[in-house]
Structure formats: C-alpha cells, structure tokens
C-alpha cells in the first residue's frame, strides 16, 4: 500500500549530493558524510559492474579479515556490501565481532583492490566494502556478531542478508538476494527486489515491515503487534501468525494466512489478481467486508450476511451489472475487523 511518506523518501534520495567521487573521500565529520560516501562508492562499483562473460576462470582465491570492535549494549551497527552475503547474529557482550571472507576467481591480485573499512564512533560501528579499482570481480561474505540489543542496518546489492536474534531496530535490504530475519522483534524493513523474504519466530510488541517485488514473502511463527507486508507479483504466505494489525498489499501475488485472529484486530488485505485464502484457527469473531470486482467470495464459516449500504448494493445489482461481489458478514461477536479487497482474485475464508 503506497504510503504518502514513501513518496517523500525517494524524492529526498534524488536530492542527495552527487559530488564528484574521489578515491579518498574527505573524512568530513558526521554520519551523513560517511553515509553518502558509502553510497557513492557502492554505486560506483555497481554502476560499472554490468555484464560480464566469465573471464574469471581461475581457482577461487580467498582472503580473510577479522576484527573486534566495542559497541556497547544498544548501539547501532551498519554494514554495507555490494556483492556477497551478510549474516548478523545477536550475542552477548558489548563487542561487534566481524569476520569476512573476500573471494575472487580473477586472480589473487584482485583481492587487494577491495578494502573492508570499519568506522568506530561512540554508539555506532559502520562497516563497508570499498572497491578501489575500476573492475570488480571480488565478493565479500560477512559473518558478524553484535550485542543482542543493538540496532542493525544491513544492506547488500547482490547477496543474501540474514539477521538473527537482534533486539534493536533492524533494517535489512538487498536487491538481488534473499532476506532472512529470525527472532527480530523490531523489524523496520526487510526489503528485496527479486529475492525472497523469510521471517520467523519473532514475538514482538512492535511493527514489522517487509516487502519484495517478485519473490515470496514468508512469515512463520510470528506474534507481532502489526505486520505490514507488500509484494508486486510474489506470494505472501503467513502461517502460525498472530498479529493485531495486518496490512498486506499485492498486485498479482496471492495471500495465504493460516493462524489466529486477535480480538479487535484489524486486517486489511488488498490484491488485484492474486487470491486471498484465510484459514483461521481461532474462534475469534470478526466483521468482514470483502469486495471483489470479478472474483468469488466463499466461506465455510457460519456467517451472517448483510447488505453493505443499501444504496451501493442497489447500484451494483442494477441492470447490466457485470460479475462482482461484495460481502458484509459477521461471524461470532464481530470483534475483529477484516477488510479484503481484490479485483479478480478469489477470496476464501475457512476454519482450520
């Protein structure tokens, strides 16, 4: 579901400085400057790395990197990578422990052209992969342990990002890769373009947000206050999920929700051609408003059907009206609010 605020986000990105890149970015004070340099360098590589027809035929060369940095109980850890996986796990202690492996098939000389930079400041640790040479055949895989209460912001372009057991606010993004988040009660964003998103085992009092464009978005064993999930063509599969607010939006992807409804919860589901299937495992009463232009609406629950608003219905049921369905029904005490809208997708609500 498009949020007004996201419009401002991208507009803002366009306005960020595009100052000419220097190989040695001036160390201007402030996290902003650092961040922009990170973006710039990362972009530099990505911009040059377009197509390659496999000139790397040598054996894989690797180089290891290892560093331990103090962060403190609830500091912030940021890591940016371009090509390669990132795995971040929450642990005990106050340190961030970084293990990285550079890999290339283009000859050992390539490895030196990629640097791993670690920036420490009070309450923050930032790691980034810097490619200093014009060409890039090197990927870096990171395995990091952070204090479990830290906040984590992890990004890669082509690689999987995995975050586990981190209590602080988590952002995990990649373009061509999967996102895996487990036991992350405060998931601010889990985003990928062509990969999948897998969320498991989070018991959260807060809001979780995740999106993919074409991959599958899976959430299992979640108990959260609010879930906001989106995809364009990917399916959204929720099992054993219990949340008080759910907002799912997809265009051609389907939604499956298997789990309980919370009393007085609010569930909003919106797809165009994807189907919506709810398999409810609780006896929670709900009030359902379901609309579809040409999809069908079915339920095996004993619901009381009612008209939505008489005038709307009469208009819709008038002569020359095409297919299309609208249902306003109440099950049990109607405490939860379900709003389901599709264009052509079918809607099915069953009890487990």
């Amino acid at each position: 579901m498009l949020r007004y605020s996201s419009l401002l986000v991208v507009a803002g990105l366009g306005a960020a400085p595009l100052a000419a890149a220097a190989q040695n970015p001036s160390r201007a004070a402030g996290a902003f400057a650092l961040r922009e340099q990170v973006d710039r360098v990362r972009a530099d590589v990505a911009a040059r790395a377009v197509r390659y027809q496999g000139r790397d035929r040598g054996p894989e060369q690797t180089e290891r990197f290892s560093r331990k940095v103090k962060l403190g109980r609830d500091g912030r850890f940021t890591i940016e990578n371009i090509s390669g996986d990132i795995t971040v796990t929450g642990g005990s202690g106050d340190d961030v422990s970084i293990e990285a492996v550079k890999r290339t098939r283009g000859g050992a000389g390539q490895l030196a052209s990629v640097r791993i930079l670690v920036d420490e400041r009070p309450g923050r640790v930032e790691v980034r992969t810097e490619h200093t040479a014009q060409n890039d055949r090197v990927s870096v895989d990171y395995t990091v342990t952070v204090p479990s209460a830290a906040a984590v912001d992890a990004r890669s372009v082509s690689g999987t990002v995995k975050v586990t057991r981190v209590q602080g606010a988590v952002r995990a993004e990649t373009v061509s890769g999967n996102i895996v988040a487990a036991s992350t009660p405060k998931l601010d964003a889990a985003k990928t373009v062509s990969g999948n998103v897998d969320l498991t085992d989070a018991t959260s009092d807060a809001d979780l947000t995740a999106s993919t464009v074409s991959g599958t978005l899976r959430a299992k064993g979640l108990k959260a206050r609010a879930l906001e999930l989106g995809s364009v063509s990917g399916d959204v599969l929720l099992s054993d999920v219990s949340c008080e607010r759910l907002s799912v939006h997809s265009v051609s992807g389907s939604l499956e929700y298997a789990g309980a409804l919370a009393r007085r919860g609010r569930y909003e589901i919106n797809t165009h051609s994807g189907s919506v299937r709810l398999t409810l495992s609780s006896d929670t009463g709900f009030e359902l408003t379901a609309n579809s232009f040409s999809g069908s609406i079915r339920s095996d629950l004993p619901v009381t059907l009612g008209a939505t608003g008489s005038q709307d219905d009469r208009r819709r049921r008038g002569p020359g009206r095409g297919p299309g369905h609208s249902t306003h029904a109440v099950y049990g005490d109607g405490s939860a609010a379900l709003s389901i809208r599709t264009f052509s997708g079918d809607i099915v609500i069953n009890k487990r």
């Binding site: 579901m1 007004y4 609010a226 007085r264």
Partner: protein, 178 residues
Amino acid sequence: MTTADDAEIVARCRAGDADAFETLYRRHAARIYTLACRMAGSAEDGEDLLQEIFLQAYRKLGSFKGDAALGTWIYRLALNHCLDYVRSRRAKMSKLTETLDADTSFEPLAPRETPIARLDLERAIERLPDGAREAFVLHDVEGFDHKEAAALLGIAEGTSKSQVFKARAKLRVLLGKK
C-alpha cells in the same frame, strides 16, 4: 525545557542546523504522533500526518515568535493539520463502522469482568466514526473542555458535546464484550 532552550533550538534550526532539528523532532514527535494517530484513526495515517506536520513546522519556524512554548506551537500546528485532514476526508467517505449501531440508546450490556485496558481503548478509539472520534479525542483524551473542543473543531458546543457522548456510547459497545 526552558524558553531559552526553545529559542536556541529554533535559532539553530533556522540557520540550517540539522542536528538541532533532529533534537526538536525527538523532543516532540511522540506527542504529535500520538495525537495524529488518534485523530486520524489509524497508525498509517498518523505516520503520514507526522511527516507533514514536522515538514510544515520546519517551513514555518521562521514565523515562530517565542511568545508561547515551542511545544505548544507545534501542538497547535499539529492539531490544525489533523483537523484539516479529517475534515477533508470526511467530505469524501465515511468509516466502515458507520454501519454498526447508529443509535445511541442505552441497552444494558453484561457488566464487564475486567477494567478497561488502555490498549483496548486505543484500538476501540480507532474504530470510532469520524466526528465522534475527534470530539472524543479532544475532550476525553487531550483534556479540552467542550467549549474549547467545539471551537477547535469549528462546530457548535452542543454538537461537540453530543459527539463525545456518542463516542462514549459506541465505545461501551466496542469494549463491553469480554
């Protein structure tokens, strides 16, 4: 937070100091966000409104005179913004819950077994219809009296009062069953 603090923050913001604006944001965001969520009836709208309000505050800082506390100034800005939003929205659509009992008669409900939890009340407030919700939020939650609430809402005091009562009746229904 003294007026001297306020004046300093504002001066620094006007000079383009990003840190200062962030400080200002962090001091007041929760209050404004909470108000926006309740007035608009949803966290999504609340978040969007929060953006706009602070953006507006940023633009209008030039006109802040320092005769009231900064927090009060932002709160008034926020309140007006939320009310504009809800008013324009109301002209176009009405909430789902409108179809639930539109009458306000008092049939006796089964007595509650447990006291009302704050979280339950918050949720129930979100489900109130526009009009009733704003009046209730201003009067019962934010603490304005009927006259002040009516003035803020731009309606007659009697109307504002009856909206508050209607909201309470609705809340009784929404919260009553346990």
